[in-house]
Symmetry: C2
Subunit: 379 residues, 2 copies
């Protein structure tokens, strides 16, 4: 490997260290989270097989492939129409902008850990001139009481199902009904950030359309649990989606062709939609294994979807090194993205359970994390 | 084929007619323009071969594949840095927004047929709050005299090379030097819309970096002459590109993975970059064949790139029907997108010459267009 040379103290740069770790992770063969390592060549070969013998490319949003898939998504969500987009960032800014224009109000309400607030460089403000009214505490689900504290007009209320930044928590069904009703009673739209809506199905045990029916517009994603490459859909009333297509063009998301993403989304949906209950069950079992080890806690406990946040007591550097050593020596990747927390002596990671966990037994998971925790308490 | 039923007059709907024509065009085997019909399965199989044995996917803009390609593009254009983006719409709005913020001026100058003005639903205004100062006449290249008429401050001057909406015309080199100098003398940035810059090389007979050196920022595209699927790059100074990455995230263009587009762009560039002089020569020969037929004119004459606008004297419906008949009966697609013009009795189409024209001889082209023109003058 090439890279910056070692400095006088033979300490390597952070960048070089990250590159080395990436290379180690890239060679892993088993994974606790995700659907496994995406292999470009195999993925593209599978897409070629997914393409019908004479399937034509989509051209700027037109064509049987993309229109057929949009129709399928609209049906699944019980909405009149849907539009495929390159990203959820686009889909949600566009949804909120449309509601804002219609309500003649620039204020939208969402949770402090909303994707728009923390992962999009405030595009909603810099591109759309929207203002956010944050609702609820960062570490908890928002409540009807929180909403009742909103005293100003809002164009829309965005609710994320499940809420990723708090481990994939879901409000109880009655709370969801009450919160969306609160928005509607104030003349505001209810928009669903359904980035992981597919993952939420086992918890509510309701059809997707039934959950979506509480909302005026819904965004769903195709590369998280579904395992596609990139891409999202926005669903809602016919006139709303027609307007969204204008904004999509403004955003630069009306691409010449989106077929690699559409094909991957279609294949992933057909392959994995029925598996989410199994992913959830596996996540619950894994949570039980992890919490049986002293110093490990998960949230939510038990997991409500296939994802959870895992808190580890111990030294973050030592834990991280132990995970890298296991990845290097046994080609097993337990997790990535270990982060420090506000609580001294604790670090945490996020994990989503998919196809890959089938390759790891409960006993192996127990053994690996026991080793990791032992390394983390060395000192 | 399914579709709406025939009405009482057995006239079919415009939508149904378009669908029928699309199906006919989809079955064509030879084409005057483009690189031929994209076949999804074959394209995806080729991409799978293009992917290295152990090539890893890009993750939100990081990874050797995308970073390596960006480095290659920056080098080709002689700029410090480049960023791959899903679309040129994004790339150019972002470039102008950055120059606007830096110059503390919301006005940008471009030609009335600029892509931003006519194909992007005015995203520059609706998303970025920019105002356009249009320069020059719609049917002609802009001139230094036109620019001298701009009396107000501008943040940037956008020049499109070649100018698609007037048949792919290119300013003479000295004019280009003078126009970009005009911008710089006024403290404005010069931005190149190089959607078809690859196609312009044979005309200037200069390295791409030499043309790009006149500009502060450059957008290039990978699916037109290059024959990729979608995607663009924005190139410029390091700090400018770092800022562009923030705006890319705001636009929703920082996708989970872009590798299908990057692989197609990389393969297309390697395969076709050296062919543009040949495409241009073929376009010049085709223009000569076409203009030898009474009632046909091309602009520019001779073509300066591989593209041209072709004007046909005759009835638009009859000409269109003749083209469809040839497509249906002989599986040869001469052109699509025939449009009426301001001049009564004339219609026009745009064509770009690529790999596909190799399958058609000059004599065949002459014969087909002679038949089309005969049909158009029937009455």
């Amino acid at each position: 490997m090439s890279g910056p040379t070692l400095d006088a103290n033979t300490a390597i740069s952070a960048e070089e260290r990250q590159r080395e770790r990436d290379a180690i992770f890239q060679r892993c063969e088993r994974f606790l989270g995700t659907h496994g390592r995406p292999r470009l060549r195999a993925t593209l070969e599978a897409l070629a097989r997914e393409a019908g013998e004479d399937e034509a490319d989509d051209i700027y949003g037109s064509g049987a492939l993309i229109e057929g898939f949009e129709h399928e998504i609209a049906g699944l969500l019980g909405k009149e129409a849907a539009v495929f987009m390159p990203s959820g960032t686009m889909a949600q800014q566009i949804a909120l902008r449309i509601w804002s224009e219609r309500m003649r109000c620039a204020t939208v309400a969402f949770h402090p850990t909303c994707h728009l607030e923390i992962h999009e460089e405030k595009g909603y403000e810099f591109l759309h001139g929207l203002r956010s009214r944050l609702v609820g505490a960062p570490h908890a689900l928002l409540t009807l009481d929180n909403l009742r504290g909103v005293r100003e007009p809002i164009a829309a209320l965005l609710l994320e199902l499940p809420q990723r930044e708090i481990g994939g928590q879901l409000p109880e069904w009655d709370d969801l009904v009450a919160q969306t009703a609160w928005a509607h009673e104030r003349g505001a739209a209810a928009h669903m950030d359904g980035a992981r809506l597919w993952e939420a199905a086992p918890y509510y045990d309701k059809a997707y359309a039934e959950v979506a029916a509480l909302f005026d517009s819904v965004y769903v994603s195709f590369y998280k649990g579904i395992g596609g490459i990139s891409g999202a859909a926005l669903a809602g009333p016919t006139d709303f989606i027609a307007e969204a297509r204008i904004w999509l063009r403004r955003h630069g998301g009306n691409l010449r062709s989106l077929y690699p993403y559409v094909l991957a989304a279609r294949a992933g949906l057909r392959e994995r939609l029925a598996r989410f209950p199994a992913y959830h069950e596996r996540a619950v079992r894994i949570a039980r294994v992890l919490t049986s080890i002293p110093g490990i806690a998960v949230t939510p406990d038990p997991p409500q979807t296939n994802m959870m946040h895992v808190y580890l007591r111990g030294d973050i550097e030592q834990i991280s090194d132990a995970v890298v050593a296991i990845a290097r020596d046994e080609r097993v990747l337990l997790f990535r993205g270990l982060r420090s927390t506000a609580l001294p002596g604790y670090c945490m990671f996020e994990i989503s359970i998919g196809d890959a966990a089938e390759e790891l037994s409960d006993d192996e998971i127990h053994d690996y994390f026991t080793r990791v925790m032992a390394a983390g308490s060395d000192s």
